[in-house]
Amino acid sequence: MPETIYTLFHETAWPVALALAWVAGELGHRWLALPRISSYGIVGFLMGSAQGGLLPDPNGGSVTFLADVAFGLILFELGYRINLRWVRANPWLGVTSVLEACGSFVAVFFIAHWFAVPLVPALLLAALAMSTSPAAVLRVANELHSSGQVTERTLHLSAFNCVLAVIAFKIVMGYWVLSGAGSVFQALWSSLVVLLVSASLGALFGVAVPALLRALGGMDRSATVAFAVAVLVLTAFTHALKFSPLLATLAFGLVARHRRVLLSQAQRNFGALGDLLTMLLFVFVAASLHWKNAIAGIELALAVIAARMAVKVAVTTLLARLGGITWRKGFLTGLALTPQSVFVIVLLEQSRHLGLDLLNEVAAIAAIVFVLEVVGPLVTQRALIWAGEAPEDGED
């Protein structure tokens, strides 16, 4: 009998966790005005196996794949919202992006060095710090129906700094492979080739899928499902081939947008399917954390978070007026760039096959991920509200 109950718990763990996350998300939203994704993270963390919860260690299983798909959908949507012509019309946006990302890299690298983190993990930590998690900023912006310069710039900077972070990360990985037993070929393969092939695959989808849709006609209705299926296929391919699903889906969205088949407003988040997968993604991310790491690394984590925020806020504020917005909106853009968690976990998950276990090697990462998974969305949410970009009567 106890065994049956154990099996039952084991097999229903994920659905139950999702149900709990949903309830927590709604209550946290209603009572504390928390972004829903913050609550999902808390539930995921508490339910994680390391915390004695019900969820089996999700790493490597089919849940990982689903999480990749969920993140792929978000990255596709983000890519779709990026207007590259904007950077040409307003070069200060590009300057801001490069400075805030590279500044974060440098600042975090020195802090990690100060805390005596070995070279390669310190470089990887710095590369991760460049990024802003698109999952959090896009979800929060959609939840608030916000629109305006802080929203637009946060989304664009997030997409750009993710690309920069992936590139930096892969280059460091290449260096790591080379400095170990690996050959030059292996080093190039795990960095440059992976980057190029992933981006090209995404771009190929970006050309092919809109062309297919145009050939079929009647795009208004079927585009959302078609794009969702394409993201699923693309994620499966890049996952199986050990390329970067992350870069591929982002490139897919970017290219598809510039091919001008348009998604309508009603299909943001990929509808209810997207909502469900997002819950899974945020629970998954927090469930991969271990409380011992989260506590052991808290000092370095807080230092990294503070330095990263300081750099991002300083750059966006100083360049605000050159970029055409107020100091205040520049400052709030920097704040809104705080979230980092989902991107980090997914990227690390996708690098696990190389034998890299940064999550357990650098305890601070677990702490950063946990703190920012809960706090990050909240900061973004506040920044958008303070900027006056969210309608007062809230949502839906």
Binding site: G217, D220, Q265
Partner: protein, 376 residues
């Protein structure tokens, strides 16, 4: 607060106000970007006047006072170029059109100004549904009585302006089959429609405005949403039925068509307006809204049925000498092209819908059309 005195201005001067849409280039939905745009425009010198409108995805521009078509057009083009450049820096698309084809009114954000918040509280969803975009043309009047005379003498020509400017066939994602769906939104307001038939300013002031004010329904002329209303503080009458066209060139042409008409009416080339003219007013207005240039209107004096298109072409012929005197031949040529062959912007948008196969494509086309320098 009594009605302010009517400030006499130079007859036949004109000014144009345009309410424009701010859209997000990604999904082409309305974008609440007025505050960001205004901030950026305040920093550069805007060649005219720019101000917020009731919802945050609208912006209103106004020209100076002009007498000539070329000068009006030059200023409108300058304003257009400044706006487009600001929009490019902020990733915001700017366009004309009387409605946004698929925006959802419940998503609109009311601009944070006391008057707008009051209107929103009073009118509820109507205020948000009022996210429509019009062109207002002011014509200067030498005296208040001249203003009231013109206001009523123009009643027969009102359908011309509706049909020529119509650019809002789509609303809430569907083709409404109207050439201007915008005016249907305006009609929902209790104080919309036409001004009472009074031709004397002091009578208007005492017998109408003072009484209305006493009822507590209105506080100033601003509370009337009439098709044409006097604007005493400017010394003008203001034509408000036009949809914002897709191009500033068309906006200038419409203003000059009105200017030339007023010149003809002031020259006494027509019998004076009569109360019975208004018997057919709403019917004619509906025909113009619904069918555009293909509408059929009833001439109030002899009950003849006229094809609106023909009536405009006939009017243009009568306006020729006036256009020459005002230097607005080019503007009237544009109106001639619209009425004779090219069609209004509502038909242009319907064509885009057919070509692009999607409602977003319509907005995309409107954004592109606004940017480019065109002859019309």
């Amino acid at each position: 607060m009594a009605l302010e005195p009517f400030k006499a201005s130079d007859a036949l001067t004109m000014g144009v106000e345009l309410e424009l849409q701010l859209v997000n280039p990604t999904d082409l939905d309305l974008s609440a970007s007025a505050m960001d745009m205004l901030h950026l425009l305040e920093r550069s010198r805007f060649p005219g006047d720019v101000k917020p409108e009731i919802t945050e995805s609208m912006i209103e521009i106004a020209t100076d006072v002009h007498t000539r078509h070329d000068q009006l057009l030059a200023q409108l083009r300058q304003m257009r170029d400044t706006l487009v450049a600001a929009g490019d820096r902020l990733n915001v698309g700017v366009c004309g059109g009387g409605t946004h084809p698929f925006q959802h009114w419940s998503h609109q954000r009311i601009f944070a100004r006391p008057r707008f918040k009051e209107l929103s509280a009073l009118y509820g969803y109507l205020a948000k549904q009022f996210t429509v975009f019009g062109q207002h043309v002011h014509i200067g009047c030498g005296s208040p009585d001249e203003g009231l005379f013109l206001l009523h003498a123009l009643n027969r020509y009102l359908p011309h302006f509706i049909a020529l400017s119509a650019s809002s066939p789509f609303s809430q994602g569907v083709d409404t089959l109207f050439d201007t769906a915008r005016l249907n939104s305006v009609f929902a307001f209790p104080l919309s429609g036409r001004a009472p038939f009074i031709l004397n300013w002091s009578a208007f002031e005492q017998d109408y405005f003072a009484k209305m004010e006493k009822t507590g329904v209105v506080k100033s002329m601003k509370d009337f949403y009439w098709d044409i209303r006097p604007k005493p503080e400017y010394g003008t009458i203001e034509l408000r039925v036009c949809d914002t066209p897709l191009t500033v060139e068309r906006a200038a042409a419409l203003a000059c068509y009105l200017q030339a008409l007023c010149r003809m009416l002031l020259a006494g080339e027509e019998p004076p307006p009569a109360a019975d003219d208004y018997l057919v007013y709403n019917y004619n207005r509906f025909q113009a809204c619904r069918f555009g240039l293909d509408g059929t209107i009833v001439q109030p004096r002899n009950n003849d049925n006229l094809w609106l298109r023909e009536d405009i072409l006939a009017t243009l012929r009568r306006l020729e000498p006036h256009a020459v005197a005002l230097g607005s031949e080019a503007a009237l040529e544009d109106i001639y092209r619209v009425a004779s062959a090219e069609g209004n912007h509502a038909s242009y948008l319907r064509m885009q819908y057919a070509d692009e196969g999607g409602i977003q494509g319509v907005v995309d086309a409107a954004v592109r059309r606004f940017r480019e320098r065109s002859d019309a």
